[in-house]
């Protein structure tokens, strides 16, 4: 993977995005870019609009203003599944497995529907083999034939990530994938997420656990009450007085 700088077009370009729910403005003129292979952390107090932003980028919500571009194309009016085919995948904050299917089947669905054309030309593995590799890659091999309803929390999180990875995305949005996990579990999942960079996948990670965020992020973005108030190197951002005020209160 080359590491070119400003000549490279951003992979994801969120421009002046606004989202309202009735009279409530959840997002106000938010700009965000994600470069190929970049690890961007997104933090902010509860209710600041992080999940709304994720839903706008992934297509679950329609934006009221601004635009969202992916690899130079305007995707603002594409339905979610089309954005997945383009190369954006997200994991859900509260895992949403296909309840009646096994772990293996869960992955197979995604592989079958994100299109075989999404795998690289020199990949000669069958779909089943790709599924097995993914299952092993997240450490769920022993549970592969278990119905997803029977998994533990940590296993569900791994499945959630595995499914997103199965979509072979260029950008993965991890929405609070670490919430509620214990220390060791956090490390497990975080390693998986950080491993995405080696595959050339950008990751936008929404998180509250600051230690994980600092370890992960090459760039840190802060959202407060629907507005972006900081965007830069993690060390600079956490020392930004505005950010400190937002977290410690007035």
């Amino acid at each position: 993977m080359e590491n070119t700088t400003q000549t490279q077009m951003p992979l994801v370009k969120v421009s002046a995005v606004t989202k309202k729910f009735g009279g409530f403005t959840a997002l106000s003129n938010v700009d965000l870019v994600i470069a190929p292979g970049e690890r961007v952390g997104l933090i902010g107090p509860n209710g600041s609009g992080k999940s709304t932003l994720v839903n706008c980028i992934s297509g679950m919500l329609k934006i009221d203003g601004g635009s969202i571009e992916f690899a130079g194309e305007n995707i603002s009016s594409l339905p979610p599944h089309a954005r997945v085919h383009a190369g954006i995948a997200r994991s859900f904050q509260i895992p949403r497995p296909f309840k009646t299917m096994t772990v293996f089947e869960n992955i197979m669905v995604v592989l079958n529907f994100s299109g075989n054309d999404r795998k690289s030309a020199d990949d000669l593995r069958s779909t089943e083999e790709r599924a097995m590799d993914i299952v092993q890659g997240v450490g769920l091999h022993s549970k592969k034939d278990h119905v997803s309803a029977s998994l533990t929390q940590v296993e569900l999180r791994k499945l959630e990530l595995a499914r997103a990875m199965a979509a072979n995305p260029k950008v993965l949005i991890a929405d609070e994938a670490l919430a509620g996990l214990s220390g060791a579990e956090v490390d497990e999942i975080l390693d998986l997420i950080m491993g995405m960079k080696e595959k050339g996948v950008s990751v936008l990670m929404i998180e509250h656990i600051m230690s994980a965020v600092m370890r992960f992020s090459e760039r840190l973005v802060v959202l407060v009450a629907g507005n972006k108030i900081a965007d830069g190197l993690p060390q600079d951002v956490i020392n930004n007085p505005e950010v400190i005020k937002a977290y410690l209160g007035e």
């Binding site: 599944h81 296909f98 009646t100 995604v110 079958n112 997103a164």
Partner: protein, 312 residues
């Protein structure tokens, strides 16, 4: 694949047996009863494609059945041959299925179901008020007394037709179940938002399901006019079609091709026996009762029951 081979093998063995019945079963009534049961097989299997695989509960089965029947009426009045009527009815029902999907599929869960009921009644009202379709007074269909295929009364011919249709429906359902379409529909059923968010084109798949489901239900209706020879709205749009097409898959086991088949065979036969020995009112009481029982006590139906019993 083993399973495939076993299925088609079984089919090849059973089908000739069923097809040969007219040659050695004397009772004409038997074939009327068999027709009714096979008709339910088609309805149940068709309903299950949208209801069992995708999880969208359609209350309007009667409307699709009726579209099939009334397309035949139209074709009959225009002197089309029987085969053309069957194709016409299936196609029209599929088209309406597509249209219904377009209108209602943005609705979720219960609202979708209520919308399908509403659509069904609107259609019923339109038909009742359309003189060309006979309106409330109905239309008579004249059929020959003898089966065009040699051996006996016309009901034998109808029996062959509906048997063929039932086999076709089951095969189609099974193919869907084992294909990417079935897999996508089941993902939609399990978690539609996750499915859409992971690349499954949910709207497209749902539209395909409503069209195929509607088409097959219409298919079941296309030969109905030839059976009862007098077609009027209340018999054709009967709510009992709606409740049966929901009850049979639930009783047999949702989400598999064999569940609705079993449910239809079981409930259909019970209803035939009940209407002969008791009365037709007891019919629907039994269906209602069985439905409530299964839904509360055995939600996975007969198939689920067998699975548990064989220790899966």
């Amino acid at each position: 694949m083993n399973k495939n081979r076993n299925f088609y093998l079984g089919l090849v063995l059973v089908l000739p047996l069923l097809a040969s019945l007219p040659f050695w079963v004397q009772s004409e009534y038997f074939f009327f009863a068999a027709y009714s049961v096979l008709q339910f097989v088609i309805l149940a299997v068709a309903w299950n494609i949208l209801g069992g695989y995708a999880g969208y509960v359609n209350f309007g089965s009667a409307a699709f059945f009726a579209i099939g029947a009334y397309s035949t009426i139209v074709g009959y009045k225009l002197h089309f041959p029987q085969g053309a009527n069957i194709l016409l009815g299936t196609f029209m029902a599929g088209l309406v299925g597509l249209g219904m999907g377009y209108i209602t599929l943005r609705l979720k869960g219960v609202f979708f179901s209520i919308a399908t009921l509403a659509m069904s009644v609107v259609l019923l009202t339109i038909v009742t008020n359309t003189p060309f379709l006979g309106g409330a007074r109905g239309v008579y269909v004249i059929v020959s007394r003898e089966s065009p295929v040699g051996t006996g009364p016309y009901i034998h011919w109808l029996y062959f037709l509906i048997l063929a249709m039932a086999v076709v429906s089951v095969i189609i359902s099974r193919i869907i179940e084992h294909s990417w379409l079935g897999q996508g529909l089941m993902a939609i059923r399990d978690d539609e938002m996750a499915a859409e968010g992971l690349g499954v084109p949910t709207l497209k798949l749902k539209l395909i399901a409503t069209s195929i489901s509607g088409a097959l239900m219409g298919l079941a209706g296309t030969t109905f006019p030839y059976l009862i020879t007098y077609v009027e709205p209340t018999a054709t749009f009967n709510l009992s079609f709606a409740v049966n097409s929901i009850a049979m898959p639930i009783v047999g086991g949702l989400g598999t091709w064999i569940g609705p088949l079993l449910g239809a065979l079981l409930l259909g036969s019970i209803q035939q026996i009940a209407s002969v020995t008791l009365s037709s009112s007891w019919n629907l009481l039994i269906v209602g009762g069985v439905l409530v029982l299964f839904v509360t006590l055995a939600p996975n139906g007969l198939v689920g029951f067998f699975k548990k019993w064989s220790g899966k």
